[in-house]
């Protein structure tokens, strides 16, 4: 009999990370159904790969790397580009004009990010939507921290350009 992690403890781990895993997959697929499948597959593969994982490393970025890899594969097999459709939440009621204007700005920004290429969308999504640290983003994307900085700077520059074009 070998050593096994308690299945209940892994279920707890799944519950703790399922939101960030699902949303990372959604950043890639733009489809809730495909994101769910990718996240589920990612958790299964993470379980199987646990014995070979480096002790002491953070779990979240490692999991996200697996999940996003799954999401990319599914999108490629589907033979289409992702069309991320994040929208701003509806105003809770008849709010002041400033609030409505801010919502419209957020909606526009989310639409522009949703239309960016995958590398840009992921690095922006990890840092600002999923609130990953720079180190976690580097780990999840499999690139050095310095590359995260430069990739993010370029993505933000392209985002600024697009905002100005649409202004």
């Amino acid at each position: 009999m070998g050593c096994r992690i308690n299945a209940g403890a892994y279920a707890e781990l799944v519950r703790e990370h399922q939101q960030v895993a699902f949303r990372a997959a959604y950043l890639v697929t733009g489809s809730a159904a495909e994101a769910e499948d990718a996240a589920q597959e990612g958790f299964v593969k993470a379980w199987q790969a646990l014995p070979k994982f480096r002790e002491g490393a953070p779990f979240r970025p490692w999991l996200l790397a697996i999940v996003v890899n799954e999401a990319r594969n599914r999108r490629r097999h589907a033979g289409r580009q992702a069309a991320l459709a994040l929208r701003a939440l509806d105003p809770p009621g008849a709010g002041p004009e400033e609030e409505a204007a801010a919502r419209a700005d957020h909606e526009r920004l989310l639409r522009i990010v949703g239309g960016m290429r995958e590398d840009d969308r992921l690095v922006i999504g990890y840092r600002y939507f999923l609130d990953l640290s720079e180190a976690e983003t580097a780990e999840a994307l499999g690139i050095p921290r310095g590359t995260v900085k430069s990739r993010l700077a370029r993505a933000l520059a392209r985002l600024r350009d697009q905002i100005e074009v649409e202004a």
């Binding site: 399922q18 299964v44 890899n69 933000l156 905002i163």
Partner: protein, 261 residues
């Protein structure tokens, strides 16, 4: 932070993400049927991000309804076979050093609520020592089986009483505009008060609800039992009472609650 970054942060807070599905049941069903985690096979290498050692392993996939239906059985089976090792580096890595390790030559009987995904089974005293708040317990329902989960910030306690009453408590608050988005057609939310506190009796077919944790982050959580639910905002606590057969019964349970000794 640049203006664009500030806008991204603000827009992220307003983003209307699709509802996160509850993956625990389907994942646990699948890993129960595949290869369970084993240590001691010499694996100490680093897995490159984006790669998976599981790729080379045999795969099969259960249809989702079947997977969900099997989840409880497999959870019990896997848990009964749990952790015969003394010190497991994987447990350490997961931050689960406190998980009980024992030899189980025979399957353990299922604990009430074990399949509900409420966290790790523990004692009330142990849960209290880890929670960031003082939980409440119902009176007159008997001794609960206690579960603790480390998420969201401050932790969550689950109390499973005889006759199917489940009380879950976490540090957070209701946000009505988010909550209503998760209620399917035909489900209604009646405002009620409990000792002056705000509460909602949700009846119909609620499956998920939204709340805001003490750090201000929005989360969704699943209603664990099929049926109605009472969501009660008591000071800084969000308390969920499930399994009551009527609104009057749920309110009576809530009004009987006292802070844990």
């Amino acid at each position: 932070m640049t203006p664009v970054e500030q806008m991204l942060r603000a827009a992220a807070a307003d983003a209307d993400w699709p509802v996160t599905p509850d993956l625990a049941a389907s994942v646990m069903a699948r890993i129960g049927g595949l290869s369970p985690l084993q240590t001691g096979d010499g694996g100490a290498g680093v897995i490159a991000p984006g790669a998976s050692a599981a790729d080379a392993r045999p795969r099969f996939r259960l249809r989702r309804p079947l997977a969900i239906a099997l989840a409880a059985l497999l959870l019990l089976a896997a848990t009964a076979a749990a952790i015969p090792g003394v010190r497991d580096p994987v447990l350490d890595w997961l931050g689960l050093r406190s998980v009980e390790v024992e030899r189980v030559p025979h399957p353990l009987p299922a604990a009430p609520g074990e399949h509900l995904g409420l966290g790790k089974r523990t004692t009330l005293a142990a849960a209290r020592s880890r929670l960031g708040f003082r939980p409440v317990v119902a009176t007159g329902l008997g001794q609960p089986t206690v579960y603790y989960g480390g998420f969201p910030p401050g932790g969550e306690i689950g109390l499973v009483y005889p006759h199917g009453i489940v009380i879950a408590e976490l540090s957070g608050r209701l946000e009505t505009r988010y909550l209503m988005k998760f209620l399917p057609p035909g489900t209604e939310a009646d405002p009620v008060t409990i000792n002056g506190d705000r509460a909602l009796w949700i009846h119909g077919a609620p499956h998920q609800y939204a709340y805001v944790d003490k750090a201000g982050n929005i989360h969704t959580d699943s209603v664990r039992t099929a049926g109605n639910v009472l969501l009660w905002h008591r000071r800084d606590l969000l308390i969920r009472i499930e399994g009551a057969r009527s609104k009057a019964r749920a309110l009576a349970i809530a009004r009987s609650a006292r802070e844990a000794p």
